[in-house]
């Protein structure tokens, strides 16, 4: 008799509606950031059409800023690619962590992995450590046109720095990440120490290294969870121990956007 494998997906806690909700919020920040990127790149001597193409095919703020900055600062193609590649290194562990939640063969998984962007990936995390594909796909799908649209407007109209400051556009992204972090900690208060250490690392690192690298270093703070797990035997599943601080069935890092508690 053949072996029968039954795949049981975790209960839906987010789905595309949650992705749409969180994606809309993130897209506001993405639009504002892309606006500044478009203006920055054009003022740095890049042709508007290439800046727009870059946003279409790359869709990665930190790396795009880094590449343009490196080229403007007298660096060549290698230094621009090196800086951008270093900044985006964080996507390697993020994508690896998402692997078991994606579907299909290697090629399909590779394509699905392209939807991984910071905000979407965080929002799609489930309490059991898996990833809600629909939430991530939708959140990214909403942000991409906002990113491209913001770049188009920024590249063509090049608004001034004062414009961003006067209209408070520079506060959008930090605020959104702050709210997502608070949501995350509401569901998993045991990660408060991780967040505090990450903030400390980030504050120090951003003085010495580019933002993307600082972000990568912040990820080291997550190692605290591993150390704690080692201290307690590390046998408990990631999702099981998280329920201590959250409501039953909810409260993961990205569950708040989808669990209805915030909306």
């Amino acid at each position: 008799m053949g072996r029968v494998t039954i795949r049981v997906d975790p209960p839906a806690s987010g789905g595309w509606r949650a992705g749409l909700r969180v994606g809309l919020g993130l897209s506001v920040g993405a639009f504002a950031l892309a606006l500044s990127f478009g203006a920055f790149a054009v003022s740095s001597g890049w042709p508007a059409w290439l800046v727009i193409v870059m946003s279409i095919v790359v869709f990665s703020g930190g790396a795009q800023f880094a590449a343009v900055t490196a080229m403007t600062g007298g660096g060549g193609v290698v230094s621009a690619l090196g800086a951008a590649a270093l900044i985006n290194t964080r996507f390697i562990p993020m994508a690896a962590a998402s692997a078991r939640s994606l579907r299909g063969g290697p090629w399909r998984r590779a394509m699905e992995g392209q939807t991984i962007v910071d905000g979407s990936w965080v929002a799609a995390q489930r309490p059991d450590g898996t990833l809600d594909r629909a939430t991530m796909f939708t959140a990214t799908a909403v942000q991409w046109p906002a990113w491209v649209g913001g770049t188009v407007v920024g590249a063509l109209f090049a608004p001034s720095t004062e414009f961003f400051r006067d209209y408070g556009l520079d506060v959008i992204f930090p605020c959104f990440f702050l709210v997502l972090l608070l949501d995350s900690l509401r569901g998993k208060p045991r990660h408060a120490l991780v967040a505090i250490v990450a903030v400390a690392i980030g504050v120090a690192a951003i003085w010495f290294v580019p933002g993307g690298v600082a972000l990568l270093l912040c990820g080291i703070a997550a190692g605290i969870a591993g150390v704690r797990a080692s201290g307690t035997g590390g046998a408990a599943s990631a999702g099981g121990a998280d329920s201590a601080g959250g409501a039953p069935g909810g409260g993961g890092a990205g569950s708040a956007p989808g669990d209805g508690s915030q909306q």
Partner: protein, 99 residues
């Protein structure tokens, strides 16, 4: 410049493709899974700091603090995420106009 765009697109694609394509359905050991589970909190805290301070703290601006504080209060009272952001923006605009 065109080479940079093409190269960056390929690097970005590879970063996001390799893990999912190779690892497949494999699950991480418990300790690794704990770390992966804590990554979002670490990344969010990092994103907050990076966007607030900027390279060499070039974007550090005390006028955003009241706006962020207002967003925290709104979040505490269970305001939707987008509402929290709008409140932060409005408070920041008002603070900057007043100073």
């Amino acid at each position: 410049m065109i080479l940079v765009v093409i190269g960056l697109a390929l690097i970005n694609f590879a970063y996001k493709a390799v893990g999912p394509a190779i690892l497949g359905d494999r699950e991480f050991p418990g300790v690794v899974q704990r770390i992966v589970d804590a990554l979002p909190a670490a990344m969010l805290a990092g994103l907050l700091v990076v966007h607030l301070l900027g390279d060499r703290w070039s974007s550090a601006d005390v006028t955003v603090v009241p706006g962020l504080a207002a967003a925290v209060v709104a979040w505490y009272w269970r305001a939707p995420q987008l509402a929290c952001v709008v409140i932060a923006v409005v408070v920041t605009i008002v603070v900057r106009a007043a100073l």
